[in-house]
């Protein structure tokens, strides 16, 4: 177990270093922030002073090493725009994005699992066909369009739910969360639905495929031959088996949900990391962009690790192999 974990950890560190280089060079290549940040009226001396203050006069590799050595001390640079540490800027907005992504994931499981289960058990019923047709829509409709429609219907026409912002928040673990207040929860609902649409479809399809496959297995017939109730057969014998692929995929998807929340956050003016990065790209706020990308990379790596561990809890076969090495 420990050797396995150590190997995974070393791999993760190597990936972080490689990504830091790629991200830094990539971002350096996309434009010159000086043009945007410094007033066109500034004279040559003022320009040079500003460039030196931002560290932009050094050669690229030196900038990278400055960035790296500071990064190792937890300093990912200061935002050109806000004149605040980039890391703090992003971390401030992280709870908003996290609660949005988790809300969407929970919604995907709560809605997707029962629908997928039903569609798998009664594949030929009209209800199942409707569910499956709906899941195709969920896959193919563009997120921003659905977001606008949700605002049109539920915020503008019906006036049931707010369409922008997080609403009131409450502090928990030193961070501000919307889902802890009733009004915040109402603000969260529409964006979370918007973000979860694709994932609901994904969970429905995974669950249905898993059920179709599993109910044909001998062990399900044997469970029935033991005289177990249909509920026990479905919710213990079948369900526990399909949970493995569903949890794996949904867990791995969490990273991309966080990354793709950019669209939803823009549509609903949700003040999360996604909205911050869009604004930062517009003004080429390089340290924020680099810090954001590094945090996303870290997040993917951590999620992969956590999914692996969860997987081994759910699947006894993996657990033992891991112990063996």
């Amino acid at each position: 177990m420990s050797v396995y974990m150590l190997r995974r950890l070393l791999q993760a560190v190597a990936v972080v270093f490689a990504m830091s280089l790629i991200v830094f060079v990539g971002v350096y290549a996309i434009g010159d922030p000086v043009e945007i940040l410094i007033s066109p009226d500034a004279d040559q001396i003022e320009r040079e002073r500003a460039i030196a203050a931002l560290g932009l006069d050094l050669p690229l590799w030196e900038q990278y090493f400055v960035f790296l050595s500071k990064a190792l001390q937890g300093d990912l640079g200061r935002s050109f725009v806000f004149n605040e540490p980039a890391l703090r800027l992003i971390l401030q907005r992280m709870p908003a994005t996290l609660e949005l992504a988790f809300g969407a994931t929970i919604m995907a499981l709560v809605i997707g699992l029962p629908l997928g289960l039903y569609a798998g058990l009664r594949p030929d019923s009209p209800v199942s066909r409707t569910i499956m047709a709906g899941s195709i829509l969920g896959f193919s409709l563009p997120t921003f369009w659905v977001g606008l429609m949700l605002i049109m219907v539920f915020a503008v026409q019906l006036g049931w739910l707010p369409s922008t912002g997080r609403g009131p928040t409450r502090e928990f673990l030193g961070m501000q969360w919307s889902f802890l207040t009733w009004d915040g929860l109402r603000h969260l609902l529409l964006p979370a639905i918007n973000l979860s649409l694709f994932k609901i479809s994904l969970v429905i399809r995974l669950t249905r495929a898993g059920v179709r496959e599993t109910i044909l297995m001998d062990f399900v017939k044997f469970a029935r031959a033991k005289g177990l109730s249909p509920n026990r057969v479905i919710f213990v014998h079948v369900f526990k088996n399909i949970l493995i692929p569903v949890v794996t995929v949904v867990g791995l998807e969490l990273g991309s949900t966080i990354a793709f929340s950019v669209v939803t956050e823009s549509v609903f003016a949700w003040p999360g990391m996604g909205k911050l990065i869009i604004d930062s790209i517009n003004v080429l706020d390089r340290p924020v962009i680099v810090a954001y990308l590094m945090i996303i990379v870290m997040m993917f790596i951590i999620i992969n690790l956590v999914v692996d561990l969860t997987y081994s809890v759910l699947d006894p076969r993996v657990r033992l192999e891991a112990k063996g090495t």
């Binding site: 297995m217 001998d218 109730s229």
Partner: protein, 332 residues
Amino acid sequence: MNGTAPPTLEVRNLRTHFFTRAGVVKAVDDVSFSVPRGKVLGLVGESGSGKSVTGFSVMGLVDPPGRVVSGEILFQGRDLTKLSEEEMRDLRGNRIAMIFQDPMMTLNPVLRIDTQMIETVLAHARVSREEARQRARDALGMVGIPSPEERLQSYPHQFSGGMRQRVAIAIALLHRPELIIADEPTTALDVTIQGQILAEVQKLSATTGTALIWITHDLSVVAGLADEIAVMYAGRIVEHGTVAEVLDRPLHPYTVGLIGSVPSRNRRGEPLRQIPGMTPSLLNLPPGCPFRARCPRAAEDCREEPPMREVVPGRDVRCFRPHLEAAEEATA
């Protein structure tokens, strides 16, 4: 068998058909047999002859598009085809148990052995979890699994194939069923373990009075185990008799072919004969004797379907031209 008590299981004119898109598959077509208390019936036939479907019909586990179309399945005199799903569930795993062919597939890979055993106990008995666990442990011990207490905590993949089949047998024995249907339970195992399991099952059924249907495609397996043999071909029973009768004096050309394909002590050194040809598809089977295309004795009248008839006293065979001369030679 004495005439008063009904046999544990009596199947009469059972037909189980699958209504597929391509047509009707008559997997079991007019099958009758009975198994008395404490006796072993060997149900023998090539793969695809309808043996498993016969077993699942008795269990009430035939899934759509298949269903039992007609016939009676009398378990201790009660017709199972008339029971509700709840009534069947009370019998399954309790009074009638089944063991499957592939031990690698019959246990749920993500549930511990104790979970899979205790749930079976609790499905049919009102006992505490502790009591259920105790029964599970005893059942594992009974089928020869060492240190059952520890093994209860294991997952299926921690067992060998032979051990998994023992666990499956232990599960089948939990409620001391009156009838066990064993569907090729040793086919996937190697010969030594096969022998051990055969011996143990035989001992168990003799001591507990359990009736046993032992399904196999291998005549040599039932030779030492069964009391009676029913030979199945294309969804029908073509020959039926005691082990001695069927093995020493096979009457149906198909049985003769099957015995010819088994290496036996009389025939050692001779090349193994195969029955030429293939099992016919049961989908839209043409009328007439289904063995016709492969039968060395086939003639014009075999275009008709041969009925099951008593050709020699006490011997039922479904053939117009049984091997009577062999029987005469042997008795002469």
